[in-house]
Amino acid sequence: MSNNTKNIMIVGVGGQGSLLASKLLGRLLLTKGYDVKVSEVHGMSQRGGSVVTYVRFGDAVYSPVIDEGEADFIVSFELLEAARWTRFLKQDGKIITNTQQINPMPVVTGAAEYPAQLVEKMKNDGFNVDAIDALELAENAGSSKAVNLVLMGRLSKYFDFTETEWMTAIEDSVPQKFLEMNKKAFALGANA
């Protein structure tokens, strides 16, 4: 059932701006005429914790969440978070991840270690990983806060939506004064 439903998970650390990414995707997919569901968790998990947003679209979308083994794409704002959610990836799914590392509190306090070589580990385990330094690209575009647009630009490579459609969704989602910077970040992500 709902075999044509596509599943995108956006994961990261609370406060990294993943809600803007899901808002942008939601608008784009709605204008394309799909049934769309976007799920997010508010509240306690915003405080620097691990956060996840589910975006699903197709002819008829039922469940608001993506379960293990179902994600076509995992877009991760932070490397450890990409690894955390690997179980949710479909057999032939793709991980798009920022290589930025943010230490979680157990690592900060020395109770745990941030695993080394995560991109290589994921690739060795057979995951299809597209890793980019989204933070650097965002800074090149003019703001470290534009990581979300860099990653959306990267994601756009794997869909056949037109540039105009993406640009319209960006214009509808970001404030006017940051529009050019965000468009630049999107382009840098797409072409990196």
């Binding site: 569901k37 509240g43 915003q46």
Partner: protein
């Protein structure tokens, strides 16, 4: 117009379209956005009440006066409002009244996993439960019609996955309602025994009529499947999981009205299929109803009454194949939520931790003081329980504090239900110390105003409760204010207050570092040559500080320059960039 809408936003839209013009709520995840979105409509008067009991009584007052009203809360908030709830069931309403309650299966942001449906049954009130945003909008409107037709408050029950999911809705225009005239009616609205005795049979009669209504209402939907081997009874977000897994293969009875349940409808559905399976989250509420009718079901034998469900869990329970994912072969450390860099609670908690005090805690961001490395909280129960709890703790020790126990409570939580606990401390004379963490906002639920902030829900200036004066008026003579960024001051004052032979209040005052008007200082500078790797600065659990190759490093993008770490460094390796 078709648009993507958060479930909670859709409820607010439904209120608007239904002609609701009065909303009083207390914030609580996952219910908060209903009221925030309702406040965006000029036609709706919306306010944050100090707690859910006040909100419900206020909304009832508005309905009594003849305006369609709403109050919203999270599941545990309904416990606070349970007192008026059971009696407004007896009085009924004048204009329509809807009570929004949002459960949190899986406890994404809650202290328990209670199932609010039991309240509908216990208080004898109808309850509707939508499964997506479209239904959230429609059901909110239908709830008002039911409320007025059957003279009853009506529950609109949400859960995290419906409240915080966006799906497509179609909006329509508001239907303006003229105010229903208020006519004095003592035997209906004064619930003293003589009158209440006459109202109770009316309530029972109403439930019978509502069950009849349920049997024909379009709120409940019978979807005929491709065969009749299995019939599934389900509700809310579980319906979406069932559809995801089963499509059109099985017959589904989707309950939009979860209380009362129509006996007739359940019996007819059960008779049409070989086997009945009930798919519901948390308790076997519908299943128990079926079983009481003598209908054999499977439900909680297949699906746990713990945690939320999902499509894979439903597939597993139904014996349908599903894909399990593979995880990368690596040990992934947890990433729990933490107090933000610059959080004013941090410095105060460091002192509590250092002094090894017993800390009777409360509900809010400051619950995070319980986790490593601060480990500074002993108990957290519910809103206000810290103030009442510390009194009991001390009274059990012959009315004296052991000099080691304090209560901590936030400004909003203190307004919600800490004041009465403080009255008890004063009245019944325990030597208790209560620390009010006044960060000038309701933080955890996403920055809502409260009676101590000086602004109302719409952001307009409002009366501001003077916490010091309030505590003194209650009878607390020792009321002191400290700056939680000043560790030495906090330590001195806490020690002094604990040593006193009288109750005391310490107000730890500094606005939340995430508030827009709070100016951050330049990031703290580390002199690497002075850092001796003693890790004192790591004891406060600040996400902006880490140790790299044996030296403390500050993440300048996170650091707000609060300076708490500089006070811990004995080697002056950490310096504030400006004074």
């Amino acid at each position: 117009m078709k648009q993507l809408m958060l479930g909670n936003e859709a409820v607010a839209r439904g209120l608007f379209e239904a002609g609701c013009s009065f909303v009083s709520s207390y914030p609580g995840t996952p219910s908060t956005e209903i009221t925030e979105c309702a406040a965006q409509y000029a036609e709706i008067y919306a306010e944050w009440a100090p707690n859910e009991k006040v909100a419900m009584e206020t909304a009832f007052g508005a309905a009594l006066a003849g305006k369609r009203s709403f109050c919203g809360m999270k599941h545990v908030g309904l416990n606070v409002a349970a007192d008026p709830l059971f009696t407004i069931s007896y009085t009924g309403v004048n204009a329509g009244m809807v009570i929004g309650v949002a459960d949190d299966p899986g406890m994404h942001s809650s202290q328990n996993e209670q199932d609010s449906r039991h309240y509908a049954k216990a208080a004898k009130l109808p309850m509707l439960e939508p499964s997506n945003s479209k239904e959230a909008l429609e059901f909110a409107k239908i709830a008002y019609d039911i409320s007025e037709e059957f003279d009853t408050p009506v529950f609109l029950k949400m859960c995290t996955r419906v409240a915080h999911s966006q799906s497509i809705v179609e909006t329509s225009n508001r239907v303006e309602r003229s105010q229903v005239e208020y006519v004095k009616n003592p035997s209906k609205y004064i619930m003293m025994p003589g009158f209440a005795k006459k109202r109770h049979p009316i309530v029972e009669e109403r439930m019978t009529k509502l069950a009849e209504f349920a049997s024909t209402s379009l709120l409940n939907r019978w979807e005929k499947g491709n065969d009749n081997k299995v019939g599934i009874i389900t509700v809310g977000t579980c319906y979406q999981y069932v559809k995801e897994v089963c499509g059109n293969d099985v017959s589904i009875l989707k309950l939009g009205m979860v209380w009362p349940i129509s006996e007739k409808m359940i019996k007819e559905f059960a008779a049409s299929v070989e086997k009945v399976i009930v798919v519901e989250e948390l308790d076997g509420f519908i299943e128990e109803f079926c079983n009481a009718l003598g209908i054999k079901t499977e439900g909680k034998s297949l699906f746990s009454n713990i945690d939320e469900l999902s499509q894979n869990k439903v597939a597993k329970g139904l014996g349908i194949e599903y894909t399990e994912g593979n995880a990368v072969d690596a040990v992934i450390p947890n990433r729990p939520p933490v107090m933000c860099a610059g959080c004013p609670h941090r410095g105060l908690y460091y002192v509590l931790s250092k002094l090894k005090l017993n800390v009777i805690g409360d509900i809010g961001c400051y619950t995070l003081g319980a986790v490593a490395p601060l480990n500074a909280v002993d108990s957290v129960i519910c809103m206000g329980a810290s103030v009442s709890g510390v009194h009991g703790f001390n009274k059990a020790n012959y009315g004296k504090t052991d000099g080691k126990t304090v209560a901590v409570i936030g400004d909003s939580t203190f307004m919600h239900s800490g004041i009465t606990g403080l009255v008890n401390i004063s009245y019944n004379d325990s030597n208790s110390t209560v620390i009010i963490l006044d960060n000038s906002i309701t933080g955890m639920t996403g920055h809502q105003h409260n009676p101590t902030t000086g602004f109302n829900l719409k952001g307009d200036p409002a009366a501001k409760v003077d916490i010091e004066a309030l505590c003194r008026a209650i009878g607390i003579n020792s009321v002191r204010v400290v700056d939680p960024y000043n560790i030495a001051e906090c330590e001195t004052v806490i020690k002094e207050e604990l040593a006193k032979e009288e109750p005391s209040v310490i107000i730890s005052r500094r606005p939340c570092a995430l508030l827009k008007y709070v100016k951050h200082k330049s990031p703290v500078m580390v002199s690497a040559d002075k850092c001796k790797n003693c890790k004192m600065c790591m004891k406060i659990g600040c996400p902006a500080i880490s140790m790299v190759d044996g030296k403390a490093v500050i993440d300048a993008t996170l650091c707000t320059g609060c300076g708490v770490c500089t006070q811990l460094c004995k080697f002056e390796a950490m310096q504030e960039a400006e004074k």
